[in-house]
């Protein structure tokens, strides 16, 4: 009885692995684009640094 249960469990696990394999394909839109950018410096405290009286 126990062996039969283990057999079923193994079968289900192998099936799950096949399903996982199916849905785990590479992300197609993961490329990046080379462009020159203009940026504000990092940080949300920028405003405080710029003019503490405003905050």
């Amino acid at each position: 009885m126990k062996d039969k249960e283990n057999e079923n469990l193994e079968y289900l696990e192998s099936e799950d692995a096949e399903v996982l394999n199916l849905i785990s394909q590479p992300y197609k839109y993961g490329f990046s684009t080379e462009v020159e950018t203009e940026e504000f410096p990092k940080g949300i405290n920028l405003l405080e640094k710029w003019n503490p009286n405003l905050c």
């Binding site: 996982l20 849905i23 785990s24 394909q25 590479p26 197609k28 940026e39 920028l46």
Partner: protein, 431 residues
Amino acid sequence: MLNFRLRGYKIWSKMQAPEWACLNYNKIDYNNILYYSVPKAIKKLDSLDEVDPNILETFEKLGIPLTEQKRLANVAVDAIFDSVSIGTTFREELSKVGVIFCPISEAIKEYPDLVKQYLGTVVPSGDNYFAALNSAVFSEGSFCYIPEGVTCPLELSTYFRINNEESGQFERTLIIADKNSHVSYLEGCTAPKYDKNQLHAAIVELVALENAEIKYSTVQNWYAGDNQGLGGVYNFVTKRGLCAGDSSKISWTQVETGSSITWKYPSCVLVGDSSIGEFYSVALTNNYQQADTGTKMLHVGKNTKSRIVSKGISAGSSKNTYRGKVQISSKASGSVNYSQCDSMLIGSRSQANTYPYIQVRNSTSKVEHEASTSKIEEEQLFYFLQRGIDFESAISLLISGFCKDVFSELPMEFALEADRLLSLKLEGSVG
């Protein structure tokens, strides 16, 4: 706008990040993020054809061609790249019927009265931690105004692309449907694969006046991180619609497949009598993705109706949570809600959680809630296989069947894409 931003910043700096969601993630260093990044070539352009060819090529590779000759028929697109709109198609055609569809930065300058009247009225700056953050730093997003009695002749769509590794995206979208008008809007989003997490904290506000209808669809396909959970977008979004007028209707449809962290509850405030709110959602998580998503339906007017259909699919070591609130006020007599939350588990390590909250404050309203949790059954697969349908097609059909109530709500041209996106692979596509 400066005062609006400063107010948002003041509120945010006094708030704590919410910890009630079923999400575990590293603390975000808000001082290590770029809040504004634009391609150098983007100044004031007269035509989309003047945009940097690299950027045009990017959108073409994403399936969103913007040039005059190749653009999508019947879909007006606003393309947003990091912190700036690259351009909006079909604006002239839309303006002929009085529809305004433009980047919100432009709306603030060109239509200040409309923006002032509605911005922050549905999602106030102090609504939550991420709404306050967005109010302080938001850059770009789309603005739509549909005048009285007009059915928008085209689908409206915004495509969000984060490109800069160091940058977050903090857009704000505002849609106003005047009396007896109708609009269907779709948003899509993708991002490059980076090992670092990127922050996306957006706000969407919808206002439907008397007898107006807004249909808002999302195909969310941000980078989800690798199979070890490295990288991916942290997606914290506040979306809310106000059914301000009698007999108005707001319908949210979302297909969520990307992001390493999703925190998102598109909601409806049903103030107008006999107004209707709908929420249709499919959320698929795999590997180490975590999604805590759902909706709120707040019934204020009489005879208001809401419908919630949520489908969650969890695979790998992912965590998928539905969190919903249905609140029926004492004045909302004769109101009706129906909620259906189904979860499907794939594998033995994934999690599905459901947290429905229901508050009813009058005795004439009716609330129904159904929920189920299931796995792909051996018998179901056997049924397909013994009829000569291969394993891959069988899984595809089973997942399509599970999600069909949601896919049928998407605009036709995107429903097929969403079906393909979910049924077989996570490679994905957005309209």
